[in-house]
Symmetry: D2
Subunit: 365 residues, 4 copies
């Protein structure tokens, strides 16, 4: 494929640029009979959209989604679902002066080298704004997965820069601007962000995203392993530089005797694997961590070159997230949901009639 | 696709089981005119194959590759290249007793839940033996990339369990059994491995793989970002639980002012990005790290269940690598080469006639 | 893929229903640097759109296309090109009574059996209206093919029902409502159509579509043969029941001595092959013929059943083409252009650097 | 994809050349649990293989298939099934002199223009010998379709050159060398073939292939319509120049009132559609006709050019089928089975849980 389609069976084709007329996607392969309306999608879009707190970009985008096809009388028909989001708040002047220079940490330089030209408005195609259509498509997948398999996907921030964040109360995620799964230390995070914003600099973040309720056996041996698909999906999110499944890099120093998760009739004794073995789901919780780099758009001057190859400096004004990781939680949830949706359909296609006498063991004892 | 094909333009379809008659792959889309013989492939296969030192499994497999098609008079014709490797040393009796139990840390359980049956011989399809055909295909990609673009792919081990390994002399990689890029501390690693083997346990490892000589602009904005493809390729390697590009999880605590790599007419000032921005290559070295879990096959007893769901215990005899990470270096190199080969053809298809007046800046100043 | 994407390298994902809010497509993989505006696309859309003569449906649809992405300052950027066409003239009431019955010759029955529900408005997804986005995408392909390779794609009607139509003057195609490549017998066709319309019945048609200026060597051995792709593209057009390449079914009674096109230094002596050998273009004109069935929507009563399986009768009122073949010429041209565009990129990817000392022979002497 | 893989869900990747060491394919996506052995495949291979009568090439190839993977203890495991067929009877000398000339009607010329080189031995990749792996894969599909859905695929020859062949007794197909579904006129066909062989010329043929027992609703609206997939599959068979579904080109002169197949509670009243409406199966018999050109390899001299572009003449000696259509019947059956297998899995993936209260009407009343 040419590169803009995610998934094989629940295939999402993404289009748009940050400051073009619109962004959106086409979902191909959605099963028929799913009750679906804009309201089912708007919720996750609102969690991701800008301007929701002082800690994120102040660009005002309602990110209102319009369903153009694939739904008749409130139910999916099995035909492609086209989702459209009009861009509203475009201040192209903010970026006019960047056409001839390459912002350090941004895609400006390689885009120019690949295509020989680029849309400089807000980063064009390389803008994180293009994750909005994926959040919309992910909302459709989340709904189907919940209704057909009782699967729940959720995520939270586990570190804001060098500050670790506890994961002791998932109910708190919606009650603070950081998607923190805790009531502890939120004030400190506010202070940290205010100081960061004042400094003109930016910072990285670490997120955790997980899914529970999976049946065992979803995925494929190679190469479309469930964990490989997840790594592909997560690394495809703007600014992500690292992906871990289960214990991730912690496995390097582990021994086999401590790592291998024992099975008991009443369930698995541990989940070092993060819910995937041999590329297939085990039925345990899927546990994924991702590392997000600091926003490249900062108000501090950096050295660069212009299109003629001459030295210059870049200072990025305009509106930006001091920590792109903050709004990344719903994005990571959506990408995980899209991977699972694809796996669900692949499994049904190949193994839809497999019968096993014994029930699976519980994901955890 | 059904899952066993890697790549879109240089598409490698893998087949085989650990103890079946043969393993292999079909490479579709290879450009014509590449001089190719078994000798060009055997070298990397020999680096990966078992039995080369006392620190790896003693299974004796020559892993001799046969080119079945796609090459005429020593040159690729542009038609599919089928590569065949016969399995020679199969001791199925080693595994006969495992058909009814699920080895902790292995794919036994989810395979059974997905397919309702499984080939228990040596793990069947889930065996790391299936990486051999990828190493073979990667050797073809490496040769084309070197000849057409001067690209070099290389890898080394950077940690054996909790023991960090220096990367101060790449010339040493071929002179020790650990693919260590240093002459320091090899004896200590030998001692560590001997003790581990005696204990019957296993340990994890960390690897670094990189590519140099890439032109800027290879990859795609989304979703087939070069780094997303790399993450997919690496996480698809058996036992890999984490992938990092550039600074990886180190970016979490970084600020934008320190992370963004500045450009100068004489080259980039640093390489925190690991050679990828916005999913496209920058022309800098591609730098990837992966975490490999400890071998799940150990001689120490672990609790598990049988197919009836009843409790049992598992002790794995037979021949195994105490650290699967040791032989993973040529595998990771091959997967990286396959990703780059695919990107090279994608770039030529879409942007083959793009002309840019100014030359790219050097990868590093 | 899930089925709504056409092409591998120049991938067009189609969406929409006849009476939904909008129809459109996303083109992924278009090379950068192509000058493109709505005006480049609207021309072919106008050739296909309804209401242009009394011989086609009177539904009033401007089919005005909006480019939503992939074009910056009038030039393609290499990112996905989203094309949107709003549906304007929807008279759903025309179709309300058809939800419970299955129109003979229409997709109503199998759609209901596949999805368990369907959008009855104007045939929903099965409407020929969904060819409009393909015509739009084809216009982009036509422009690139003409600018980069001097390729010209054209088509005409060669039979209206039992009435054969000469192909003696291509310049006439635009001067009559039948896309006839002749000035002869147009009046008779008008009379034939007026009588047909009055009768409430419909009729089939035969079209010829061809491309000239192709270089030799485009396509692939198997299975993506150029002729196989063309057959796939043409049979994918609504109402098409037969496809011929070159002499088509005429080859059955031919001998090898008469069929094989001889080569001479000054060119091929004949073109029985229709410009394809072994799945690859020969450099001669590509010649394709297609058979289009009579419109299934007629005002004459036919027997059918309802969703309960009970007998009923169907008479289709509303607005329909008495011969869907009339508007199919620009559609067939577009599909052929899309196949060639895909082949052009595939060829550049795999064989972009192949050099051959001698020039190809002319397509025809 | 790079072009050598057929199918999306039941994906068959083909490899090999006529005179290379071996030909074969890898089937990816086959459901687990299908009892499978070489014996299940060899039958159809024997129907296709050369040397079975004096009317086909005398090349002696046992076409013995070896299953290399994907089957354990006689049952498919759900992992890729690799099928290997060694080439035995290679007389490369037969072809040595053809490297510098281009045989009229053969792929020699466009292959050379595409790749800059070619394997001249027996046509290399363009040989009809490469249909053998498809026949093998088709046999697997046929078995699954029969066991899971009671689907039967069959084919016969309906014309040998200008001589029409009746289809009045399917049981006769296996009792004559022409795959004729009749006991009438076989002697005349023998005489016709003997005279043709003596003349050194060749002739075309027409085949009919059909499938019965399909449920309604298999396929996809666009572009992966069932009939479009069939057209792609059939036109992908060597020497095929035309494909018809149902009444095919006969629809041109039909009216809607006669073409549209009426439905009755006891079944469809006719089958002009050939079992497909809107790209989906209706539940009626799938009926396909294909036109096969005369063999291009004849003993009569034809004009051509050499690689330097200079005039020359070509006379093809060696062993050839005077009518390639004779052995094409099992090939066409296999390709149809592969299309249906893919459609079966696509349907199960997307609509596996669709429930419809009323049973489908019978395919035919």
């Amino acid at each position: 494929m040419a590169g803009s389609t995610f998934g094989n069976w629940f295939a999402v084709t993404n289009f748009g640029e940050s400051h073009g007329p619109a962004i959106g996607c086409v979902i191909d392969g959605c099963p028929p009979g799913l009750a679906l309306s804009e309201a089912d999608i708007q919720g996750d879009l609102d969690r991701r959209r800008p301007g929701t707190s002082r800690h994120v970009t102040q660009r005002q985008e309602p990110d209102a989604v319009e369903i153009l096809s694939g739904v008749y009388e409130g139910v999916t028909t099995g035909t492609p679902i086209a989702l459209l989001i009009r861009n509203v708040d475009q201040r192209s002047k903010d970026y006019g002066n960047l056409l001839d220079t390459f912002r350090p940490g941004h895609a400006d330089y390689p885009y120019w080298r690949k295509y020989g030209l680029r849309d400089p408005r807000g980063g064009g195609r390389s803008s994180a704004r293009l994750t909005a259509p994926m959040v919309a498509a992910g909302a459709v997948a989340k709904k189907w997965l919940a209704e057909h398999h009782g699967i729940r996907v959720r995520g939270c921030m586990t570190a804001l820069g060098a500050t670790p964040i506890a994961t002791d109360d998932w109910s708190q995620v919606r009650h603070n601007p950081f998607f923190a799964a805790t009531a502890q230390g939120i004030d400190a995070l506010e202070v940290q962000m205010d100081a960061l914003r004042k400094s003109g600099d930016s910072v990285g973040a670490k997120l955790r995203v997980e899914a529970s309720g999976l049946p065992p056996g979803w995925g494929a041996p190679l190469f479309d392993k469930l964990d490989a698909q997840i790594a592909y999906a997560m690394m495809g999110i703007n600014a992500v530089k690292g992906v871990e499944i289960g214990d991730g890099f912690g496995v390097v120093a582990q021994t086999g005797s401590e790592h291998g998760d024992e099975l008991h009739p009443e369930g698995f004794a541990s989940n070092h694997s993060g819910g995937v073995l041999g590329g297939l789901s085990t039925g345990q919780d899927l546990v994924v961590h991702i590392a997000i780099k600091p926003t490249s758009s900062i108000r501090l001057e950096k050295a660069s070159i212009d299109r003629a190859g001459q030295p210059t400096t870049v200072v990025t004004h305009g509106r930006h997230d001091p920590c792109v990781g903050i709004r990344a939680t719903p994005i990571a949830e959506a990408m995980l949901a899209l991977v699972l949706m694809d796996a669900a359909l692949q499994h049904r296609a190949q193994c839809g009639d497999v019968h096993i006498d014994t029930p699976p063991v519980p994901g955890q004892r």
